[in-house]
């Protein structure tokens, strides 16, 4: 139960950063916070009380193993998160090169 609360909080903080912070890099950080929140949500959905990691070793019987599917999804999501953040940061470098500022309200040549 506590994990649901934690993931909801993480997502909330991420979105809050996005909505309030003007600096573009802070926004991208917000995005990765949301991503981690979502990953935590996925894992906690797959978690079953009192069961161990889904590695079938001689000592572990299949009956008390946690659901592996969300963990596979999280694995994929983490990589997506990394690649999006990498691309976003490199684009921010280029934006800074042109606009000399990272304030989102200044970076708005294309409007109306």
């Amino acid at each position: 139960m506590m994990f649901y609360f934690a993931s909801a909080a993480l997502i909330a903080i991420g979105i809050y950063m996005l909505m309030v912070k003007k600096n573009l890099i802070k926004m991208i950080l917000g995005l990765s916070v949301i991503d981690s929140g979502v990953n935590l949500l996925l894992i906690s959905i797959g978690y079953i009380n009192g069961k161990t990691a889904p590695i079938i070793q001689p000592g572990v019987s299949p009956s008390n193993v946690v659901d592996p599917l969300p963990q596979a999804l999280v694995l994929t999501n983490i990589v997506i998160g990394v690649s999006v953040t990498a691309l976003a940061l490199s684009v921010v470098i280029r934006v800074y090169k042109h606009y000399k500022t990272l304030n989102s309200s200044e970076v708005r040549d294309l409007k109306w």
Partner: protein, 229 residues
């Protein structure tokens, strides 16, 4: 000030609804679903890999991982395209690393590479896999970058490795289609779970992924280092 208030209100609505829905319907840790039931109980003997997560990641939902690798590949190319500069980026890292860091990196670099390789080779047995192994290798190279200010990786070699490993993964998929009729079918025998040579093509895929991820992450870091803001 109002903006903050409004955003807090919106957030409150969204998150409380999310939380209430979650706590109501999915009590924490109830028993597993139909789909995962099969993964858990028949996963090992169907795929032969002890690590069920690897079984799901590579075999049951191998296509996702292929997509996954492509995403990373696209991101690497994207970063390359975005930060492309006519001349080759020469590094102007002013800060000279201290002696301890230099010698430490000389000693530890091969160890970290070995450890990374160990992780993705035993992907199907022990926790971790291609992605985690690749990340460790990338940290090894970052460590090298920090210590030696003039060091930069051999681009041609890295791209070749990247493409080779990518092609292995996709190639296996296509071979699975040609031979067994289904894309990414596990052609090789499962072998006995727990053994190093087991779970058919899974270890091969994980090795390919490990190398690919390692090369790409290092490539990204190298391009980012090369560009001054």
């Amino acid at each position: 000030m109002i903006k903050r208030l409004v955003s807090i209100i919106i957030l409150a609505v969204v998150i409380t609804s999310l939380f209430m829905v979650l706590s109501e319907t999915a009590p924490f840790g109830d028993d597993e679903t139909v789909v995962s039931h099969r993964y858990i109980y028949k996963g090992v003997d169907e795929t032969g890999s002890a690590n069920l997560v690897t079984a799901v990641v590579l075999n049951y939902r191998g296509f996702d991982t292929l997509g996954e690798v492509t995403v990373l590949f696209v991101a690497a190319t994207g970063v390359g395209a975005a930060l492309y500069t006519r001349k080759h980026p020469v590094r102007k890292n002013k800060v000279e690393a201290s002696l301890i860091v230099k010698t430490g990196s000389k000693l530890l670099f091969p160890m970290m590479l070995l450890f990374g390789a160990y992780i993705f080779v035993h992907g199907h047995l022990t926790p971790g896999g291609g992605f985690q192994g690749g990340a460790v290798i990338a940290t090894a190279f970052v460590f090298k970058y920090i210590s030696d200010t003039r060091y930069s990786i051999d681009h041609v070699g890295f791209t070749k490795m990247e493409s080779a490993s990518g092609m292995i993964f996709a190639g296996l998929g296509i071979m699975g289609l040609l031979l067994g009729g289904y894309f990414l079918l596990n052609i090789l025998p499962n072998g006995t779970p727990g053994e190093l040579i087991s779970a058919g093509i899974l270890p091969i895929i994980y090795i390919a992924i490990g190398i690919k991820v390692g090369a790409e992450l290092t490539g990204i870091i190298d391009r980012m280092m090369g560009v001054e803001a």
